[in-house]
Symmetry: D2
Subunit: 388 residues, 4 copies
């Protein structure tokens, strides 16, 4: 269990970190929503704040006065239990509340919550909700960064976020296959004292057959071979649904790649740069990860294979697509009420990603962490680790 | 012909008026595009500036240096002749160039053009282009106001634009029919020295049969009767296409009307207010105007009937839907080049509106002015004058 | 007024003609609806029958027994007044009632109506409804032919309808412009004893300026020049809406044209044939007719110009697109009840076509007849006559 | 291995069975495609025939003459390797080839193949292709029945297929939970001599935790309780994606259910009948199966749980939705060439169903058989078996 003081520190640090991530933005950047998946930064700032107000202050702090009666409508995301909300596709149409007012809202709620925490003995329930809110905000810190990248990277002026952000590190090890033996493995979160989500508990046994898994991620150079081999035009390597998707979208390279006068570039948070060949490929869909693996005569690991072997390789630069569908672990029950809407209701037609990325918040991942996205999405820092 | 000095004054006043209209906005309001027809105010500011840069400075001012090489891409609207441009639906996804930079762009072009005009003898061609640019900007002043109203009025917080804006004046006259005799009338612009668009020249004769036209516009109170009579649910009064449109959109009242606790309100630029019963109805589509007229056993006037009789009534509060399709006058030829894209290419599947509205720029209308919109659009200040 | 005997003859001949048109069909051809505008032949057979049952027999024949209580649901087209009906897009999904049963329905209603007519003194009202039904069926005879052509011509096997159908005749006259003087012309139907639709009455004066109109239609050879000149790729000649339509659909030639090994062919009711160069172009949209005229430095005539000059040229091979929007004539009132749904509710966003085509039923057109279609439609036998 | 004689018998019986299933149809019923998932019966007849022609006769029978050079275009389903084909949504727009010609095609290919088989020693390869073709046709026999049901059951006349078809049998056993112990189970096809698909081989171990599985299927009466409890309107029991789907489609009951004067009916192949309360519910989506299980405080079994326990209960009336996503078994490799397009390319975003239904062809299922459909589909005979 975490001491109160540490908990308050964790809370204030998280709150302040989110705001720090937005420092390089112009006010205009806070407002836009170029595609439905990308929320305006202003909305992330408000939504993470609303979570603390709605689930803690409103119900637990005596005489708490809402910052504004209509902000729940503006900043609820998808909690059906909580009532009406701005349609998701409309987030980018709301010029008000303005950025300054959203910051006021943040500071008001941060202070109210600090006050509250300092005056009470933190109960198990409050601690749980608080940690939930903190990790919810950390999760949004990652989305904030990928959404900012999308907003700037899809602007025809290709403005940079800053000069120093490092999106990739070269993995220096030589490629090798790690061999894993057949047998029963235990999967799922164990240390129940530590923070975790409901989708990763239910520690349970799985039987794995002999497999091999790569010690490092597929690089840009390797992915370029895949492009040059013409695989984007060869249906043999793609799922039927992926092939339709390619024809509809015209996609033929990772998101943010640009070929300029025969030289490959990619947009990064530091602006448009020549493609770095030895860094791990990023911003690809599951469909592309799968096709790449097919073409190499390999496959993607399952999430169980990944978890069972993850001690043997470095990870953390990219969210790694697995072959596993996002499904409940044995014995999974969703929590009652709105908090229960967090994970369970998305357990269909999505794929699990394991690991973490360069924009994952500190302490917001672990070997049992289950991230999940639809098979066509690319704006996250996603990558490929092969298995066979 | 206009003296140079007057022309420069007209130019600088127009430029400054546009900026004055934006004074009450927050930076965030400049950015959003809630529906495809509504452009971000920032875009209007840039686009009207680009017009002067593209059509005058770039081609006529010696050694003119573009403010930014990519701004043409960002601020071209629909001129196919000029090259690529941001897709219309993407205008609200562009956070950059920011508002401050757009104002810099404006001031740069305004000054460059003033300099240019002061150093030359203004040729007929330059005068024509300049007047074109000025009236183009005046036209965008009206769109700017209707777009601002849409942005604020569709925000769930219903923020006001300012406290003083007057959208409606009561027409004090008693209703009466004005009778017009059968015969030949002359239609179209006459004073070719005065500024005009190419769609209104070609003064020509039309034969009109006896008709009567209302001396005043349909009021909110009268339109409310139409609603109460259940006509939004009675197909008999609607075009087949209108009936489909009603079923798809669920529309059952003018845009910006809200029924709150059994009392009708409307959003105005001064905020949400009780509906003023005796002001002219506004923000209705052609479909609704037509159905209203049908229900009253009347019809809408043609644009020729309107023009022939307009001396006999007051107009200027609302753009008045006519029964006329937007078509070329006899002898109409579109101008060569990009300037020719202004009017002719829209002459299909739209309706003519006559008059002016409370947000029409000063001196930007006249009895022969032909405005035009698609039959389902409502975000302009549109109204109804009956005929029979 | 028409003698009873003649009326009965006209009725039975019309009924029998419709069935004769379907003779070459296989049962399968009666069922399909490849696009929403094209109805299954079976539906035309049923719908024209339902019209007589619904508007005459049901209300006027004592003790008339409906053929089947649910056929009104299956065969109503768009009459909101009459009640629910199969959604238009679903017509091709209804395998029942089968073709044989639809013919039974036809014969039942034909016989019942003949019986009825023979036992009564035909009142003015019945005569009007009967003529309405007959002309309604004649109109559907034309649609039947164009729908059959679409069904067969869009089948990859390109089956022929028969061997003898003549779609085009060469217009032997040398091209010349017919000059028409300025002045007042009378427009609209005159002989009110003769059958006519409500949209063509209201004989009225229009003032026409001097114009010239072509004595013959644009030929395939001439249209081919337009294609070769690359005008399908040059936005300058197209309406903005037309340009969008071209980009969406990829259209670059008239419907039914195919380029096979560098030689142009067209699908006709006799099967796929080499393009006949001197026959009038057909199956083009208003958008294309307009662009062609622009490219020739001409324009399309208005419907008034067409009517005023039609005595001076041959017409009847193609429906000729005019520049006129489909609007009510002065004094137009739609009839009360379902019959009134026939014309008025379509008077928006469509264009008038004048003349007739090779598949127009005998005696189903006249100089004042106003046909109308949306600007993008091409499956009718449409053509181009130039004016200037 | 199967003796040649038996193989030829199996082939001819299968061919003849397909035609027998179509006996009750009118010609019109063969043609229509009311939704994209439902193919015209005529297409099933042709497509199953094309499979034998394309994969056996064309490549293996000396001097084989194609029945028609364009039939491959008409009857290929989704084999990208084989070349162009009629777009899936267009199958219902093709009136030709007609039903009689498709039967000619069937008989030609059946006879050519019988001739061929009688003159050769059947190699392993031919045997494999032949069995593939036979089972492919058996699979289409099931689709044929569900498509016929859809075509007739969505026709407003609700015609029956025949009088004798039995869609449901009451499961007489009392409900009980079957308990299964924790441990390693072997999953996948074993008898490689027997026909099987590539998706079910790769016999492998899985570790299952203790679970209980129902001995019988959920009944109509039980499902009615779910409806009466208002669960179709309570988001708590649904996946987020399912909730969107409910709102879009307005679905609130199984496919083919109709409430008439307060009494529940369902359309069956014998026509519209009062709902039989004790038969197993059918025509529900995975979304509904999942929500039902949630509401009962249970869950759906995984496909492994189902296979491990299937000896302990009767199955075969309904395809039973499982919680398992359709994924490759360990070591799965898709076959090279067109045959490899059969299964692997669909292994994403679908759910596994186990068991069989009342319209599954004889000998076309087994305990290891893996059926799969998208989560929203309902036109198959699908049902629910609970687990916990």
């Amino acid at each position: 269990m975490i001491a109160t003081k540490n908990l308050v520190t964790l809370f204030t640090e998280t709150r302040s970190k989110t705001e720090q991530l937005c420092k390089p933005l112009e006010i205009e950047d806070y407002v836009v929503q170029p595609i439905v998946d990308v929320s305006p930064p202003k909305w992330h700032l408000g939504h993470t704040t609303w979570f603390f107000e709605e689930f803690i202050l409103k119900h637990h702090k005596p005489n708490y006065k809402l910052f504004h009666p209509d902000f729940a409508f503006a900043f609820n995301s998808y909690y059906e239990s909580i009532g009406k909300r701005v349609v998701r596709t409309d987030r980018g149409n709301m010029s008000r509340p303005g950025v300054a007012q959203v910051y006021d809202y943040r500071h008001y709620v941060t202070n109210e919550l600090k006050d509250f925490l300092e005056t009470i003995d933190i109960s198990k329930e409050i601690e749980h909700l608080l940690l939930m809110g903190i990790h919810h905000e950390k999760q949004h810190q990652e989305l904030l960064m990928t959404d900012i990248k999308y907003i700037l990277g899809n602007n025809s002026f290709q403005p940079k976020y800053d000069d120093h952000f490092i999106e990739s590190t070269t993995e220096k090890e030589k490629f090798k296959w790690i061999s894993m033996g057949e047998g029963i493995y235990e999967i799922g979160h164990t240390n129940l004292e530590e923070f975790h989500y409901d989708n990763e508990i239910g520690r349970h046994k799985v039987y794995l057959h002999k497999y091999e898994i790569a010690n490092k991620l597929v690089t840009n150079a390797e992915y370029l071979e895949f492009i040059k081999a013409g695989i984007y035009n060869d249906f043999n390597y793609w799922h039927a649904e992926a092939w339709e998707w390619l024809k509809e979208t015209g996609i033929s390279q990772p998101m943010y790649w640009h070929k300029i006068d025969e030289n490959w570039h990619h947009y990064t948070l530091n602006g448009l740069k020549p493609l770095t060949m030895d860094s791990p490929v990023k911003h690809i869909s599951y469909f592309e990860a799968f096709a790449y693996a097919q073409w190499k005569g390999c496959r993607l690991p399952t999430e169980f294979e990944w978890e069972a072997s993850q001690n043997n390789f470095k990870w953390g630069q990219r969210w790694e697509w697995t072959e596993s569908a996002y499904l409940p672990y044995p014995g999974y029950k969703k929590a009652p009420g709105a908090i229960g809407e967090y994970n369970g209701k998305f357990m269909v037609n999505q794929k699990v990603l394991r690991g973490a990325s360069v924009v994952t918040a500190s302490k917001h991942t672990r070997p049992t962490y289950r991230n999940f996205f639809h098979t066509n999405l690319r704006w996250q820092y996603t990558g490929i680790r092969l298995a066979k």
